[in-house]
């Protein structure tokens, strides 16, 4: 049967990017539909009526939403080049860490967004402090090499790539959040996602990504004045 694989995503989204990496690792050809999240397509609203969010994978007409769910689907459908470990215990560990990373990100990102879009000095400082509190937890776990020590891209590594978006926001705002001094292990990890040939496919091209968020940031700052 001819495969039809569609991905509704956004090039600036870490969750959308995860799916592209997974599909590329499996050598699956797909058609990408760039969504404007401020003007969502009828197709997206039809395929993900519950959350109305990207990414959504549509495989032979059947939609799947939620990035970690999609990644597991991809791994189970195209079984070569496994993304998740085969051993049930190792697999459980990978699922645990991916969820941990996502939970921490969803604690960090609103704080970063607050700093990025509030325009006020006090709110910005508060946002940065909040973000650093959560980054501390990630740093501790990564330092103890609990995450992964892998050189290859797997479920946890792909999930962890969203840490780059914190680094992007630093450059956008001209502030320091994830510093090498405070977070050496996390900093080393981010360098991998920027420089390592294999790992860097997890993130979009750097300059355009920074430019995109800079436009959003300065727009919000101007609006708040």
């Amino acid at each position: 049967m001819a495969e039809e694989v569609k991905l509704f995503g956004k090039w600036t989204s870490p969750f959308s990017r995860r799916i592209e990496v997974a599909l590329k690792l499996k050598g699956v050809e797909y058609e990408f539909f760039e969504e404007d999240t401020f003007n969502k397509s009828p197709a997206l609203l039809n395929y993900n009526p519950v959350h109305k969010k990207i990414p959504v994978l549509v495989h032979n007409g059947k939609p799947i939403a939620e990035s970690l769910v999609i990644m597991e689907y991809i791994d189970e459908t195209w079984k070569h080049n496994p993304i998740l470990p085969i051993d049930p215990f190792e697999k459980a560990m990978a699922r645990f860490w991916a969820k941990f990373i996502d939970d921490k990100f969803w604690a960090i990102w609103p704080a970063v967004k607050k700093a990025m879009t509030s325009g006020g000095e006090k709110e910005r400082e508060e946002g940065i402090e909040e973000a650093q509190l959560h980054l501390d937890t990630l740093e501790t776990q990564l330092k103890e090499k609990k995450f992964f020590g892998g050189e290859r891209l797997g479920f946890v590594e792909i999930s962890a790539s969203l840490i780059i978006w914190i680094v992007v926001s630093q450059e956008v705002m001209g502030v320091e959040i994830l510093t090498q001094e405070k977070f050496p292990a996390l900093h080393e990890l981010t360098q991998k996602f920027v420089h390592d040939d294999v790992f860097k496919q997890c993130v979009p091209p750097w300059e355009p990504l920074v430019a995109y968020f800079k436009a959003q940031y300065w727009g919000a700052v101007a609006a708040s004045k």
Partner: protein, 233 residues
């Protein structure tokens, strides 16, 4: 298999620990249950789950597995003989995982929100949100069950367990707020499912008595009025 090879660290009132009870029951796995005191957590719990320090934890061959959804999938994979917890088809598995995420991230959050809501208006908004969530899950129930008794079909599986563990706490919210949440008129599918779920062989002996749960909740919320409705897990 010797019982001591499988240990579960949990609390009787925890819906997440209940998931593990039920899943092991479905697989007919013998296990040792360790009732934790969340006010004085055991060394074993602190060592087994150093990151979150929460129940449930499944310990199998001395290896700890944390997070109830990861545990459910581990149980299905470590004891692969029938009955299965997750379906075999990748798309059906993805649908089950999607709804499990919705139940945990949305519905459960809203249920917790009922306890922490302030004032009559606040409570009404929180309760309406839970009802709306249940209506969404009702639609999912019809799609997944395809007219059969459970989300997973003829027998209980992943989604049944993921949602079913909250039935006691839904009852608590109904009684404490004198409202109906699982409404037979608005959610006939879920209302009928709930009765069958609670009567299932793998559920009825491990599900906490709902009135005992209510007494417990009343005691906890009375003692700590500022508690933000966290289920003790």
């Amino acid at each position: 298999m010797a019982g001591s090879e499988v240990k579960v660290l949990g609390t009787w009132a925890s819906p997440f620990a209940l998931r593990v009870h039920i899943a092991l029951g479905i697989k007919s796995v013998k296990y040792e249950w360790v009732e934790e005191n969340l006010e004085a957590k055991s060394q074993l719990l602190l060592e087994s789950n150093p990151i979150n320090k929460q129940v449930p934890v499944l310990i199998h061959h001395h290896k700890p597995i944390c997070e109830s959804l990861a545990i459910l999938q581990y149980i299905d994979e470590a004891w692969p003989s029938a009955p299965s917890i997750l379906p075999s088809d990748p798309h059906h598995r993805a649908v089950a995982r999607f709804w499990a995420a919705y139940i945990d991230h949305k519905l459960f959050t809203w249920l917790k929100g009922v306890a922490s809501a302030e004032g009559a208006e606040g409570k009404k908004v929180a309760l309406d949100q839970v009802r709306e969530g249940l209506v969404v899950v009702e639609a999912a129930f019809w799609k997944c069950s395809k007219g059969r008794d459970f989300f997973s079909g003829a027998g209980i599986g992943y989604l049944d367990i993921v949602l079913g563990c909250f039935l006691g706490w839904l009852y608590v919210a109904e009684k404490r707020n004198d409202v109906k949440l699982l409404d037979e008129e608005k959610m006939p599918g879920l209302a009928a499912w709930a009765i069958k779920f609670c009567q299932h062989g793998a559920v009825k002996d491990v599900m906490p008595d709902k009135d005992e749960l209510l007494d417990y909740a009343n005691m906890v919320f009375q003692a700590m009025p500022k508690l933000n409705g966290q289920c003790p897990s």
